[in-house]
């Protein structure tokens, strides 16, 4: 058995080495798969902050994934057609610069999360799940019925957006960029989890009464966690849209929320590196089972059932011994 920190290092290293080997072997498709894993893992890391650390079972994180995607889609489509986004009261133009798009994606997701969170956090438990799910569906239907940006068909962006100093159309360079973003976010979240805020959030999860008694405003802590979590997932959405150079309402669908949740459960709930392992397993299953059977989701469902019923702790829980059991 391994220590969890060692296993985490191995997982991150593997994610870096696989595309490098693929580059040497001239297999660009594998690099793209690894990029997909990196971006989806990022979305999972975002959700895991709310779900794992905070115990907020949000079934609506597709909202933020989608908003991130559409932030990219809308800005880039205006840059592509050289039309301004709006002229009055002040001029906003489209852009194809990733850093700008990322900031917009994060800000938009955070604002949406503030609104959704303020409403959803009035409830808890099973209500919270249903309410976040319903708000997710609201955004989905809105994206479908709003014709200005492609409606049901989505938006195609012909050229990947630019990042200063890189050629993002080269798969390995885009991978490197996504990997760097993932590492930065992992560093940020690990610091956050250990901070006073992170401890308050865990406290509000495991013993809300006690947390409240010592003077923690649990609703506020949860709201802040929900907003940060949404910002990270929104950033992942913008990257995912750039990977595919396509956004569609599917990004808002509740299956997307479920998928992000699956990464977390496959990897191990509330483990920082869990979503990376989970997303990797998911993409590998999708790729290989998908080649083996058209109905691969049946097997995915059965595997998921097995993990939930019999293998709690997921992949990382199964491969490592738990450090410092708190239970």
């Amino acid at each position: 058995m391994l220590r969890e920190t060692h296993l985490n290092g191995i997982i991150l290293l593997a994610l870096l080495i696989v595309p490098l080997v693929a580059l040497a072997l001239n297999e660009p498709f594998i690099i793209t798969l690894a990029t997909k894993v990196t971006i989806l893992a990022l979305a999972g890391v975002g959700l895991n902050l709310a779900l794992g650390q905070g115990g907020l079972i949000s079934f609506g994180h597709a909202i933020f994934f989608g908003l991130g995607g559409y932030s990219m889609g809308i800005l880039a489509s205006h840059a592509q057609s050289f039309t301004p986004l709006m002229e009055a009261p002040f001029l906003i133009e489209g852009t194809n610069l990733m850093p700008v798009i990322w900031i917009v994606a994060i800000v938009v997701s955070c604002l949406a999360a503030l609104l959704v969170g303020l409403l959803s956090l009035r409830t808890s438990g099973v209500y919270f799940i249903m309410v976040t799910l319903a708000f997710g569906q609201m955004f989905y239907y809105f994206a479908i019925s709003w014709p200005a940006y492609g409606g049901e068909d989505g938006l195609v962006i012909f050229v990947r957006n630019e990042f200063p100093g890189l050629n993002t159309l080269v798969p390995i360079q885009f991978f490197g960029l996504c990997f760097a973003v993932l590492c930065a976010v992992l560093f940020f979240v690990s610091k956050l989890n250990k901070s006073a805020f992170g401890l308050a959030l865990s406290g509000a999860h495991f013993n809300p009464e006690r947390a409240e008694t010592v003077g923690i405003d649990i609703t506020r802590v949860r709201l802040v966690a929900f907003v940060i979590s949404a910002g990270i997932t929104g950033l992942a959405g913008a990257l995912f849209a750039d990977l595919n150079r396509f956004v569609s309402p599917t990004m808002f669908s509740w299956h997307t929320s479920g998928q992000i949740m699956i990464f977390i459960i496959l990897g191990g709930v509330a483990r920082l590196y869990g979503p990376i392992a989970g997303a990797a397993v998911y993409i590998i299953l999708e790729h290989y089972l998908g080649a083996f059977s058209e109905y691969w989701q049946i097997y995915l469902g059965l595997i998921l059932l097995f993990v939930v019923l019999f293998a709690q702790g997921g992949l990382i829980g199964g491969l490592s011994k738990r450090e410092a059991a708190h239970d």
Partner: protein, 305 residues
């Protein structure tokens, strides 16, 4: 916009509402008695619709098709309760959500494997096709009127079952105190299977009835499932009365919103913009309604704190 059209849309809303009630009643019952959130409820709706379409295709009888939908959904409901669901009662909501989400994947892909990706069609029986004349000179589809009737009958039956019969007494007792009723010698696991199968059968019936208006296809249950959640949030969880009130409120609001909003916006905007703004807003209306209820009564209209 004439009064006749308005009343027609009101009836459509009512029809949509009673269908949502059949879904929401099962969900809220299962949550109330077993404390379980069941995402796979939409799959049971789909199972009912496919069973009905399959049997109607073979025998040509709509009555048999309805019976088949009830039987198939109840049977699959009991089957998943016995194999999967009963392991989840003591788990937290996250496990319940994930396991039942996994069941959706299995059911949806399994159905696609068995029936193919093309939608099936379930025809309205001749006896119920066509329209009837309602007082006030309103012509309305007989089948939709029948659905409203069946829905209201089932609602009444459900209220009687729960308030007047011995099984209903046990169900209510189960909602209040599980440990106590099992200590009093009620076989709680049989009761759970029964409640789950009952909820499943209602979902299956609803799927079959709606299947004759829309097409029968894989994934048809999911939008309805989420609407049923909205109904439960509005009505208050665990309350059948709340489910009925919430369902009709959601059904009527949604249908009326889709008809009226484009017209209202059309009165002060140019027509094409009014249609797009109106329809986009109409698709969000019930969620805005839900948000409103959450602001003023977070436990729902009939929920207890």
């Amino acid at each position: 916009m004439s009064t006749i059209l308005l009343i027609e849309q009101l009836l459509n809303g009512l029809q949509f509402g009673v269908m949502l009630f059949l879904m929401a009643a099962g969900l809220t019952l299962i949550f109330g008695v077993m404390g379980l959130i069941n995402l796979a409820h939409g799959s049971l709706y789909m199972v009912g619709a496919f069973a009905a379409a399959g049997v109607a295709g073979l025998t040509g009888s709509f009555a048999l098709a309805l019976i088949a939908s009830l039987a198939a959904a109840a049977m699959f409901g009991a089957l998943i309760e016995l194999t999967v669901i009963r392991r989840l009662y003591k788990r937290d909501h996250l496990d319940q959500v994930l396991a039942t989400f996994a069941l959706i994947l299995v059911f949806s892909e399994g159905t696609r494997w068995a029936f193919g990706s093309f939608p099936l069609f379930l025809n309205i029986p001749d006896m119920l096709s066509g329209t009837v004349m309602l007082p006030g000179g309103i012509e309305y589809s007989l089948y939709r009127l029948t659905i409203i009737g069946i829905g209201l009958l089932v609602a009444a039956g459900l209220f009687l079952l729960i308030s007047k019969t011995r099984v209903g007494m046990r169900i209510r007792a189960g909602e209040n105190d599980r440990e106590m009723i099992s200590a009093l010698g009620v076989d709680i696991s049989v009761l759970y299977t029964l409640v789950f199968a009952l909820g499943a059968a209602l979902a299956g019936l609803s799927g079959a009835l709606v299947g004759a208006i829309q097409s029968v296809e894989v994934g048809m249950g999911e939008p309805v499932l989420i609407l049923a959640f909205v109904v439960i949030v509005i009505g208050g969880i665990g309350s059948i009365k709340g489910a009925l009130a919430g369902a009709i409120l959601v059904g009527v609001t949604d249908t009326m919103g889709r008809t009226l909003l484009p017209v209202i916006f059309g009165s002060f905007m140019d027509p094409s913009a009014a249609t797009s703004v109106g329809s986009a807003l109409a698709s969000m209306l019930i969620y805005i309604l839900m948000a409103g209820v959450l602001v003023f009564k977070p436990t729902g209209l009939f929920g207890e704190a």
